[in-house]
């Protein structure tokens, strides 16, 4: 059974239909790389999965919860579906550890001491043990993004959504973030990434999704799809960015 099941999802912003019937199945442990041109709907699709965007028709079921329903318990859904953003979005008034501890203490009602232990664990995982008490403004972009990943991990998500998480980083900082994601993938974390890092998508991804004009235009095993793109659109796209 798939962990995330997307069925014929349609979404418009006003007159502009950005998702034109997208279907996708994601199993536990999948590392799905969604690629495509800007405006192809890939970020919107990702944001629909945890309810940051609503959609007009179709269905998305994530971890057994129907996302788009009128009575959907988004809080319950988001406890199990984490998200990391392009702009990090760390809470600037809190230290790295406090950023990580916030959701466990507030949402999961974990004690401060326990939350601190979780923070130590997840920050160690992203290689930032020594930065626990640093404020976001004292960290580099790559470090901030790793704290953001740790913050999501603290909730023990079953799926982690990553929305172009290296796009706002200086080139020399990209790899430290990708290494963390790669390690998560190796540990069996289910990941859905919107990315422009083609090499990463090919080497780490278990599934590649190419979106074009609001639809899944091509999907498959990354190495195969990259080696032999079937559609001219993907051929052209890979030619341009690869």
């Amino acid at each position: 059974m798939s962990l995330v099941s997307i069925r014929d999802v349609r979404k418009s912003f006003g007159q502009n239909e950005v998702l034109k019937g997208v279907s996708l199945d994601i199993a536990k442990g999948d590392v799905v790389a969604i690629i495509g041109r800007s405006g192809s709907g890939k970020s919107t699709l990702l944001r629909c999965i945890n309810g940051l965007e609503t959609y007009q028709s179709g269905s998305i079921v994530a971890d057994g919860i129907e996302v788009g329903g009128a009575t959907t318990n988004l809080r319950e859904l988001r406890r199990h579906v984490g998200m990391v953003f392009q702009q990090f979005n760390l809470f600037p008034h809190l230290t790295a550890a406090e950023n990580v501890m916030l959701a466990p203490t507030v949402v999961n009602k974990v004690s401060k001491a326990e939350a601190r232990a979780i923070a130590a664990e997840v920050l160690a995982k992203v290689g930032l043990s020594e930065k626990m008490d640093a404020y976001p403004s004292e960290l580099s972009g790559g470090q901030q993004q790793r704290v953001a990943i740790a913050r999501s991990l603290a909730m023990r998500p079953k799926v982690l959504l990553c929305d172009e998480i290296t796009s706002a980083l200086d080139p020399e900082l990209v790899n430290e973030v990708l290494r963390v994601v790669e390690q998560l993938a190796r540990e069996g974390m289910t990941l859905i990434l919107v990315t422009h890092e083609m090499r990463f998508a090919r080497d780490v991804g278990t599934k590649l999704v190419f979106m074009h004009h609001g639809k899944v235009h091509e999907e498959g095993v990354p190495k195969e799809v990259f080696a032999a793109p079937r559609t001219p659109e993907l051929q052209q796209f890979v030619g341009q960015v690869g």
Binding site: L52, L74, R78, H93, A103, V107, R151
Partner: protein, 216 residues
């Protein structure tokens, strides 16, 4: 006939100043509490709550404070409830203050980047939790300067309570003028006292604003 020396006038004005200060503090704190509740309603994205606060704010910002004082003083009396000038002034100033503070604070809340809302939503925080732990701690830093600045308006606003018979600084000035026939002296002193109350606040507000700008 009773003779008033300069010091008599001044000491009488200073006694009444206490009531200006008390009324200002009550209006400011009660207005702040009501304003905070309204702020939560205004930014809740729950349509009826937003509409209510919008109308409330439009009413209290769009009509003169003097009218509001009259409405509370005479209006409530129509229902057979005796309202003291004290109660009417407190109520009117509280509501008036809350409307302005809500708008000031809403601006501060809206200046917090959307990503802060999205990140905290994605961490499963509820709206109240987002406000409490993520948005307000950041917005309140920005809000201090304009809020202190607005407190000056509250102090000056209390002068209108004199018209419904509440004896504060302005009313005391009017009474002393009637007794002494020295309007220039009396009202100069009244103005000076208001200035001494307001200027430090304006100065402080400017100072905080400057400090926040440097921090950026």
């Amino acid at each position: 006939m009773l003779q008033f020396s300069f010091w008599d006038i001044l000491s009488n004005l200073l006694v009444a100043t206490q009531w200006t200060i008390v009324l200002s503090l009550i209006a400011f704190f009660c207005g702040g509490i009501v304003g905070l509740v309204l702020l939560f309603m205004r930014t809740s994205r729950i349509a009826p709550l937003e509409w209510f606060t919008k109308i409330y704010i439009e009413f209290f910002q769009g009509t003169p404070l003097l009218m509001q004082l009259f409405l509370f003083f005479f209006g409530i009396a129509l229902f057979g409830v005796e309202v003291s000038p004290w109660a009417a002034a407190t109520l009117a100033l509280t509501f008036w203050t809350s409307a302005f503070l809500t708008e000031i604070w809403r601006g501060c809340v809206e200046s917090i980047p959307k990503g802060q809302w999205e990140a905290s939503s994605s961490l499963a925080l509820s709206y109240i939790e987002q406000m409490r732990y993520v948005i307000l701690p950041q917005a309140s830093r920005i809000a201090v300067a304009p809020t202190v600045g607005f407190s000056v308006q509250v102090i000056k606003g209390t002068a209108l309570a004199s018209i419904i018979g509440f004896v504060e600084l302005t009313k005391a000035g009017t009474m002393l003028n009637n007794a002494t026939f020295r309007p220039f002296l009396v009202y100069s002193l009244v103005a000076l006292i208001y200035f001494c109350l307001c200027f430090p606040l304006s100065w402080w507000a400017k100072k905080i604003e400057g400090r926040l700008n440097v921090a950026r």
